[in-house]
Structures are given as C-alpha cells and as structure tokens.
C-alpha cells in the first residue's frame, strides 16, 4: 500500500494513501465529530453521503472546507480540524439541523441514544440562532416500525442500509430542497410496501426518525390483569445484549439476571425461546432429511437446498422478491411462533385453561417479530399464538420502570417445562447457529452415529456469505450461510440460475444474525459489539450440559406426551406453516 504523510492539527503521521481524513485523524487520537457518516465495513456498508457537513475541516490550499469523512488524504496534506472557521461552520450546521428538528427530546424514543442530541450537547448549543418553517410529515405506523420524518436529518443511512445492504429498496430520498425527505414509493405506508421490518434502518438511524413500535405498556397491562396468565419467552440473542442497557460490557451474558428480572416483573411463567429453537430443529432437521433422502433417491418433485425459516424479515423478503422459490424454505415455523403454538395448546392443556386465558409475550432482538406475531395465519379464531412481541430495548425499559436494580439481581433459572434448552437452541442467536444446530441433530439421525465434537468451526465466521461442507459419513453436505438480505439475494439468484449445489442454506436478515437485530441495544456503528455478543452466545453453548436439540428431555417428553413424532399430523398443524406470494408494489 502506498504511504503518504499527512499533518493534522500539527501532528504528522504516515498513513496509507486513499484513506479519509477522518480515519487518519482517528489514528492519532483526533476524534472529528460526525453525524451522517457510518462505516460498517464488516458488512460492507459505508454511508459516504457526506451530506450533514458536521465533520468539515480546513485543508491547506483548498478554498472551502472539506468533509473529513469522504475526503481522501494526499501526500503533504495539512489539515486543521479545530480552527475557528471549522468550529463556526460546524456549529452553524448543527444549529441549522436543529432549526428544522422538533424539540421533543423529552418524549422522543431515541432520547439518550440520539446522535444529534449528543452533538448538540457537545457543542453547548443553548440557543438556536435560526428559525423558520419546520418540516411536517405524517407519522407512519406499521406493525414494527414508526417513521417520524419530522426528525429526519437526511443522513441517508437508512437508505443505504435498505437499498445497498438489504436490497429491499423501500426507502429513498424524494422531493427537492427543504422538502426533501426519505420516503417510500409514492409515500405509501410502510405496511403497503415490501418492507421486511428487518429493523436495520432503525438500528442505524441517528435520531428518532425511525423507531420501534413500543408495546411495553401492553405488557404492563397484561400482567396487571388478574384474569390472564402471562407467559414470557426470551430469544437467545437477548441475553447476550440486554446487559449493555445496564452499563455492562458488550458480550456479557445475563441469562440468570434476565430471568430474575422477568420474574420480578410479574410474569407467571418465564420460559425460553431456546426451548422452541430445539423444537424447531426437531422439525426442520426431519424435514431436511426427508427431502434429502427423497432427493438422493431421484425424486424429481423435491427441491433442494432447503432454506431456513426462522427469520421473519427473510420470510417476507422472499415472499416479495422470490415468489417462484416459495416451496424451498422449510415449512417449520420460527421458534417464536412454535413457542406460542405449544404454549397455547400443550401448556394450556397442562394448566387446564383455554388458550384465550394465556397471554404469550416474547422478548426478541428483532422488529420483524412484531410483524410475524401479527400475521393472520398465526391466529386461532382471532387469538394470536404470540400476543405481544417486545424488543430487548423495550424489556430494558420495563425493568427500569419497575424499579428493578438489574445489577444486584441474583441469577435464577427458567421455569419448566418450556424453559429447558440445549446449546443448540442457544446458538440460534448468531449467524450459522441454526444450521449448526440442525447439523448436530441431522448428523446423528442420518449416520446413526454419535457426534462427539459438536462445534462446526467451518460454519462460524462473520463473513456475510460463506460456504462450508460437512461430512455426513462419507456424504458431503454443502451448506451456504448468509446474513444480510443483500447477501441472501445473491445466494437466491445463484439458486435461480441453477449455479449452486447447496443442500441447505441458512439465512438471517441482520448483521451477525439475531445478535445484530434491529431490536437490540444500539451499536452506533461499532460492530465489535456484535462480535462480543457472538462470543457470549458460543460461551453459553459451550457451558451447556446438553448441546444437541434432540437430547433435550423436555422436548422428548413433548413428543412422547403430545406431538407423537416430528412431521406428525399434530406437528404439522401446530409447528408448520406455509408462505404467500406477495407483490413487489
């Protein structure tokens, strides 16, 4: 790499040619403030719009100020980041942004997490010199996401995420000048678009323009209702991130404290989605082996690869974009929905109550889960299998509201029978985890041999698209794994063009899998946080006594007492679903 010498604020440094002023400055401890800039190069997302102009700096010999986030360094470049000219410009730019921003910080969902608020605080802006017309847009409520474009600062991160990373293409800049805003096709409601509710736009939005729909008060109401039995399930990725909301280091697993907190919140039963993840493996691995065997026996009606179906954003994505592949994903419901279905049938029977008496609350790292819970096929006579789906962030707020001192909580265990899970269920939370869990079970069923080393390292990585093969007793099983819907699109295009020879593919919509979900604590562009969460998940798996789903005694009991065997008629009724061809617009 060619090197060049740059002087920033009087300090000279040798850096690779072509990096930005911002990156070069960072190397010598100069932190230039940014707003629109977001570089998630691990997932190949770089928002280089350079539109906010907060990061402008003085470059010797240049007539105007340069945006440090997008200006490459050159040899002999002299930069001043904190001259009065740059500071005055930055302050005025901030004041301009604030002059068209609602001053509703007290009631804003992003308060405390808002990057604009932070900058305003840093710059000690006490009075906004400019005033005038304010942007006014209607709020758009969808099952998962609220768009409040009055708060949009046109950083375009959501647009980059939606179009370039996820290739969903719902959000785009429209109109001109002061009236320009990020909007949907013909300003339709999100609900009427191909939005998958993956929530990555929310995850990167610096302000309160994109936020989740908050159901925490519905949870409080349900718990307060003496006529309801309120059951909570928690997704695997939640425990790896919840601690961050209480100041713990990223990657701290807080399973026990989380269970204790949920019990103190007043839930009647605290169960685990991981249990349902084990159940998912039972059904999905069976379905896969069934398809694989028929396929290898030359049955032309069988299509491979099988695609995982745990991620609701991914499901909505292929329903819109790949309706011709609708028979390829596994018909197994996601763990959240399997849990709901079992809680309101099997567990309701145990309690001897009608399903209507039970309220199932799920705590998810995900915004699309809210939408999934609302899908009509997951209702029985209008009663949903999962009543309320909240995010990790909402749970943290519930805990705070209930005056629970999270840090001083003891570690407690999930309730039985739907709270027991294996290491296979835990790793659902991280990319490659579902397929690894499935392989652990499918291997033993297919080969009839015991699997000694359950850790399939070849399936673990933070690459957005990866392929691996697993030896199934002489038979090479080709596996594809991807996260991010743009990567999923590439794999699906390969399948469509007949170029791929995968037997099974795992797809997750979010970076790093569910641990990077749209409902997790905000990572503010630091993907190390997501990596730390992945380590926490694998750590938890490693310390589980049972690490294969089909060895979970409560799962075995569920099949013995209630379902019969995987893919039985009852299993099909409760644990499998079907998909719908959806239009693009």
């Amino acid at each position: 790499m060619e090197k060049c010498k740059v002087t920033i604020d009087g300090k000279t440094i040798e850096v690779e040619k072509g990096i930005t002023i911002l990156e070069a400055a960072k190397k010598i401890g100069i932190k230039i403030p940014t707003l629109c800039h977001l570089d998630l190069h691990d997932i190949k997302m770089v928002n280089k719009a350079a539109s906010c102009r907060v990061c402008v700096v003085e470059v010797e010999g240049r007539k105007n100020l340069a945006p440090s986030c997008s200006t490459p360094v050159f040899d002999g470049m002299k930069v001043i980041t904190n001259s009065i000219r740059a500071l005055n410009a930055r302050k005025i730019v901030l004041e301009l942004l604030l002059s068209d921003h609602p001053k509703e910080c007290l009631t804003c969902a992003k308060s405390g997490e808002c990057e604009l608020q932070e900058l305003a605080e840093e710059f000690a802006i006490r009075k906004i010199e400019f005033e005038g017309e304010m942007s006014r847009y209607r709020k758009d409520y969808s099952p998962s996401i609220i768009r409040d474009m009055d708060k949009c600062v046109m950083c375009r991160r959501c647009e980059t995420m939606c179009n370039e990373v996820q290739t969903v293409g719902v959000l785009s800049g429209i109109n001109r000048g002061f009236n320009s805003v990020v909007a949907t096709f013909f300003e339709k409601n999100l609900e009427d678009t191909t939005c998958t509710y993956c929530g990555q736009c929310v995850a990167v939005c610096p302000t309160g323009a994109l936020t989740e729909v908050d159901y925490s008060w519905d949870v409080i109401n349900a718990i307060a209702n003496p006529n309801k039995i309120v059951i909570v399930q928690t997704a695997p990725a939640v425990r790896a991130a919840l601690g961050e909301e209480f100041g713990l280091e990223p990657g701290t697993s807080v399973t026990g404290k989380m269970v204790a907190a949920l019990k103190r919140l007043g839930f009647d039963y605290v169960f685990d989605t991981d249990f349902a993840a084990d159940l998912t493996i039972m059904e999905e691995a069976s379905e896969f082996l069934d398809r694989l065997t028929r396929f290898l026996n030359g049955d032309k009606s069988v299509r491979l690869p099988i695609l995982t179906s745990c991620c609701p954003a991914w499901i909505k994505f292929f329903e819109h974009h790949f309706p011709e592949l609708i028979d390829m994903p596994s018909t197994a419901k996601s763990p959240q929905q399997m849990f709901g279905a079992i809680a309101k049938s099997y567990f309701a029977d145990i309690l001897q109550v009608p399903r209507e008496k039970i309220v199932v609350v799920s705590v998810m790292p995900c915004l699309a889960k809210k939408y999934e819970a609302s899908r009509p096929e997951f209702k029985v006579n209008g009663n949903p299998d999962v009543d309320i789906s909240i995010t990790t962030r909402e749970l943290a707020r519930l805990i705070k509201q209930a005056n629970i001192d999270f840090m001083s909580l003891p570690e407690e265990d999930f309730d039985k029978p739907l709270g027991e899970s294996t290491g296979a269920g835990v790793i659902f939370g991280v990319t490659g985890g579902v397929i690894e869990a499935a392989v652990r079970t499918a291997y033993e069923w297919y080969t009839g041999k015991e699997l000694r080393d359950v850790e399939f390292r070849q399936l673990r990585s933070d690459e957005g698209i990866r392929t691996a093969s697993v030896n199934f007793g002489g038979f090479e099983l080709n596996i594809g794994i991807s996260y991010g819907l743009g990567n999923a699109r590439k794999l699906l295009e390969e399948i469509k063009s007949g170029k791929s020879n995968y037997h099974a593919i795992e797809i997750m919509a979010c970076p790093g899998g569910c641990i990077g979900g749209g409902g997790q604590p905000y990572h503010h562009g630091n993907l190390d946080i997501i990596r730390a969460r992945a380590r926490a998940i694998y750590h938890e798996d490693r310390h589980k006594e049972i690490r294969k789903s089909h060895k979970n005694p409560y799962i075995i009991e569920l099949y013995e007492k209630y379902l019969g065997k995987p893919l039985s008629e009852k299993s099909h009724k409760l644990l499998h679903t079907h998909y719908f061809k959806k239009v693009l617009y």
């Binding site: 102009r53 105007n64 997008s70 410009a89 301009l96 005038g132 046109m154 001109r176």
Partner: protein
Amino acid sequence: MSYQRYCLVCNSSKCGHYSKAIADNIKHYLRENNIKDIKVVMTECFGLCKQGPIVKIMPDNIVYSGVKPMDTKEIVEKHLINGEVVSRLVHENKKSKQLKIVLRNCGFIDPENIDDYIEKDGYFALAKALKMSRMDVINEIKLSGLRGRGGGGFPTGLKWEYAYKQNSDQKYVVCNADEGDPGAFMDRSVLEGDPHSVIEGMLICGYAIGSNKGLVYTRAEYPLAVKRLSKAIKDAREYGFLGNNIMGSGFNFDIEIKYGAGAFVCGEETALIRSMEGERGEPTSKPPYPAESGYWDKPTNVNNVETFANVPVIINKGANWFNKIGTEKSKGTKVFALAGKINNVGLIEVPMGITLREIIFDIGGGIKDGKRFKAVQTGGPSGGCLTEKDLDTPIDYDTLLAKGSMMGSGGMIVMDEDDCMVAVAKFYLEFTVDESCGKCTPCRVGNKRLYELLEKVTSGKATFSDLDKIKNLSNVIKDTALCGLGQTAPNPVLSTITNFWDEYVAHVNEKSCPSGQCKELIRYIIDHNKCVGCTACVRVCPVYAISGKVREPHTIDQDKCIKCGACYNTCKFDAIYKK
C-alpha cells in the same frame, strides 16, 4: 424604380430620439435637390448605440456616427450629391463588438442538413484530428487556452489530458446540455441551430481521450433541440462520421441522447452522471472526479455544449489563431444571453475581455425606457451582481470571480433603478432553494433559512443582527455546501449586501424600500395638493381603503390598504405616490 443609393437611418431605441428628424431632414434635402434615386430606410440597431445616432450610406459602406439632425444637410449635399465623404462624422472603427465562433453557423445553415454543415468546413476538423496523434490533439486544445464554458472555467485541455491518462477498458464523453440557468439559452440555440458542431467536438474529444461512447444529457423540455440533434446524429451515422472505423481511421465512436427532467442541480456533473444512471440526481463528493470515476464508475469527460462547439474551430484554425482572441487567461469568445431591462434582448457572442459597458450600452442598446443602469447579474443564480463601477472592467473568468460574481453559463440580466437589490437577491435565492436537491444540510436548511432572513428584511421585520446572521450564514454555506449549487447560492446575497449595503440598511432602519419594490414596505399616499376628488381611485380600490368627498382630496386608510397599486395606476393626476 430602382435606387442608386440607400441611406440607412438607425431607428432603434437609443438612436430613435433623433431618427425621425434625421430621416425627415434627409428626405427634405433630397427633395429640395430633386434627387429621386436615393432612398431613406429605417433600420434596427447597429450595435453602436454609444456612438449613435447612426446613419449608413450604401453601397458606399460609409457609417456616420453621432449624427444630429442639423448634420443632415451636409451629408446630403456633400456625400449624396457630390460623393464626398463627411470625414468629421465618419465612424472609423468598423470592427464589430461581436465575434461569432460558437454561433458561426447558427442562423446561417439548415441545422437538419448535414451538407450545409460540411459546406462550412464541417467535419474537416475531425478529419484533421484523426490524422494527428491523440496527445497532439490534447496539446492543441491546451495551447488554445479553451476553458469550460459551463461556468467553472476549468481548462478543457487539462481535463481531457486527465481523462486520457486514465487506464480503463471504457471511457465516456458526456456533453452537458442541461442548461438550467434562468435566462440562459445558448446551449439550446447551438443544438437547435448547429447540432453538428457539438457532435464534431465530442468526436474529437472521444478520439483524444480514447473513448468510443458519447452521451448528450439534455432536458426533455428542449424537444426541438432533441429533434434536431437526433437528426444530426442519424445523418452523421449515415455519412460514417459516427460508428465504426470513422473515415478509415480505425476510430469508433457513437453518441446517445439521455434525457433529464429539468432539475437545475443535474447540470452539476456528478449529479448529471447519477441522473444518467437512473438514480436520483444528487451530486456526490469530489474527489473522485468524473475523469477518474464517472458514468458507471468509468473515466468520464464532461464538457458543455458551448465548449464542444468551440473545438472544431480550434482544430481547423489552430490553437495559435484561437489564443489571440480574448484576455491573457481567458481565450476565445463567450456567448451571453442578454436579458432584463435592456433594449436589445438577445443572444450575443463577444470576445473575452470586452467590457460590460460595451455589451450593455452598445450591443444591448442601453437600458429600457431611458432608465438608469443599476446592476447586472452574471452567472445566473450562482453569480453575483456587478455595478456601475465595474462597467469598464474587461470581463473574463477571473475578473468576474474577483468581483464576487462568475461567468456561469452566460446569463446576463440587467437591472435598472427600479429594481430593489434585496428583492433581487431574494429572487435568485428562491430559485436555488427550490432547485436544491436537499442532500446536504447547508443547502437544504441553510439556504432556506437565508431566504427566510431575507424575507424578514424585505418585510421590514429584520434587525441589524439579522444582517450579521445573513453574512455569517452565507459564508458558512459557501464554505460547507457539497456542490457548486449550494456553494454559490449565497453569491447574489453577498454581492448585493456588499454593493448595496445602503439598501439593506434602509429596509432595516427606515423600514422602507428605496426602489419601492418591496410590497410590505410601500405606502401609497394621496397628495392633497394634486387630488381633485375624481373618485377614480375609490372605484378601483378592492378593499375600500380610500375615502373622501367628491371634488375634495381623498385619503388612503393605511390599515386597510393591501398595496395592490390599483389606485396608483388609475390616478390621472399623479396625485398618488409611493413611499
């Protein structure tokens, strides 16, 4: 009957005061001398208004300037009868102020006939270039001193060389025909009047930089330009000037037309490229420049219509011919679209270095209705205004920039004493506020806030601290906006606030508009000494704000008055005045 001689008398606005008297006098003396084979003909402007009135004798081709009615006897007796030139009146310098290089064929040839173009040496420059080495072509353009005519004035040869040096399997030549400056229409005129000159310029550029694909980005609102350009492209293909192995040289090149929807910002080259790719027309940060990474991320050379139209002439006549025209750093000519409060509104082409005075008072025929010149806006909404004191500055890229304005694409809008300069600044800013793409904060919010501050000034609500804010905000916008549109948007504000500070102060301090243009600051008042009580004003007032008895002086109720001016226009006794 046929005439031996014609006596042409300029009857255009400036000379017009005397022209009738001059013509009548000449006719009178002709009659007196019983001369019947000389005819007096009234003409339009000679473009010598400053020296007017003008009389020209044909076919002798003698021009008399500064002719007064009393000079006519001498002209008739001395010249027309005795054939002796009246030397004291002869206008010696017959050199015209205008020089047509870009417009060399406009209005002379049939734009839809390729043979008309070839007859005027069309495609000979291409033939010549194809026999030169690519670098020689670029050096010729560099030596000519040609600079981009789209506004920025970047040396064209350097731009070509930069694109030439890029290693790429594909390069593009883009002609920016997205003319968006209000009041500028030279690119349209060239495309409508001489499309082949642009095609030939693009071909030469394509050959020089090593590109086989040209694109013309024009606006869908220019249907005739598109029609004529399409016909020209089709004809050029049939003659083999476009296509493969052009004139046996092995050079391949073809041109495609891309349509824009007319957003002003799409004239900015990076936004133009995004628009051609089918994306939202938004500029991107430079670097990378289009020459490195442009259309579909390939090296792309973008020049505007007028720049390309210059190229064939430079190749044909040589760089050393071209660089003798103009000033030290700005060579050749510039086409201007003259508009505003000027007599001869039109499209003109003048050598660089001409003064504004020559443009406005000679070619333009001076200010309409004999009013006083106040300012001229060059460079459209991105430029600034120049005033009386700048009239004698030779204009080129650098002098205009030094005066806080710019060449721009060549719009030139003249303002007279009736124009309020705060309102003018507001007018231009309104345009850029409307046309901003909304991408960067300084342009999206900053220019809007700047506009709102100006509105405060024109409505008499501003304070001195608002004027400070205007200056500071303008400078920050210039310093921080992403593209040329935003960076130059405050220019009209800054240049008017510098040149017409008193007018701003009057709006703030006295809450009055010296030009009587800012509606909210005007008061219509009836002069009781002049009012005869005819009640005409009472009848036209839409809000019943005028009261008074018949045949007695009337009064306007200022609280009710909406300043529509109906009374002012109706009064036959000049009894109503603006304050």
